[in-house]
Subunit: 151 residues, 2 copies
Amino acid sequence: MSTSLTVSQLAKQLEISADTVRHYVRSGLISPERDPENGYKRFKGEDIKRLHFILQAKSLGFSLADIQTIMDQASHGESPCPQVRVIMEARLKETAAKIAAMQATYKQMQDAMQRWQTQPDCTPTGEHICHLIEGFSHQADNFKQEGCCHE
Amino acid sequence: MSTSLTVSQLAKQLEISADTVRHYVRSGLISPERDPENGYKRFKGEDIKRLHFILQAKSLGFSLADIQTIMDQASHGESPCPQVRVIMEARLKETAAKIAAMQATYKQMQDAMQRWQTQPDCTPTGEHICHLIEGFSHQADNFKQEGCCHE
DNA sequence: CTTGACCTGTGTGTTACTCACAGCTTTATA
DNA sequence: TATAAAGCTGTGAGTAACACACAGGTCAAG
Ligand SMILES: [Zn+2]
Ligand SMILES: [Zn+2]
Ligand SMILES: [Zn+2]
Ligand SMILES: [Zn+2]
């Protein structure tokens, strides 16, 4: 039948993994009918439309929980747009914060790598585990813990 | 006694949460002695030094699994430096990739928000869940799925 | 001795999947 | 036709790095 698709058929069509499709079903985002003969999931037009929506929303930064909320609201006949705008604003800020944090870490990593370029390998002692890592904070002054392990 | 610290004392001293300290213990990164009287964890010099190392490594982008590996190697008397360099290179690439991906998403989000600025709220129909999200891909052409839900 | 604040260990929840696995179907081969 | 190999299915469990919940233990004040 071309009126309903199996998990892997649907997955292939939307270029996602079958496990991802199953995940959305288990999470309650999609609720396909079941084939009475073997219990297999059978996706029809409605389900495919929902999955399509899910993927679009995900690409815009919405979480699955967000998407669930939006769909629930829409199925109650209420306009989800106001919620969408609110959630989006929050996700936008979150994403900006995450990017900033990761960029900071990235800089730390680069600095360390450069510093390590010229440093020789060490042997761990009771005092030190790895000079590369431990030496970093002394120069970069990340941790101003007074109980710092050495010097 | 000042020779050993409890979970919360140690947490406060290193400015991390007590739960985080407990997490590291449960993960096997630190193995403090136990107070025979009440079973409480008792952190001594060695443990504190290890935790100090963990935090430094974490700030450089190492995962807890990485750190475990490095510490194990060091405790076997082998120099962990070569491993450290290898792992760091991998994490550096990963981080760069993550940042790039997040920035791409961020741009998508911004574009969508701007487009939505002037659009009115909608009412969900059988055809659509939310025009804001569904309308996006038609203009941005994210999903060139031929079975797109409308038009 | 009791009240209350604080602290403890442990069990469970979080995000968005991904993997493992036993079993059923379909296809290919002899 | 028998049978073996390949492929697909649903479900249970695992991942990273903690955060939270909660019953019970500890300690100072009254
Ligand atoms: Zn080293
Ligand atoms: Zn140090
Ligand atoms: Zn809408
Ligand atoms: Zn569409």
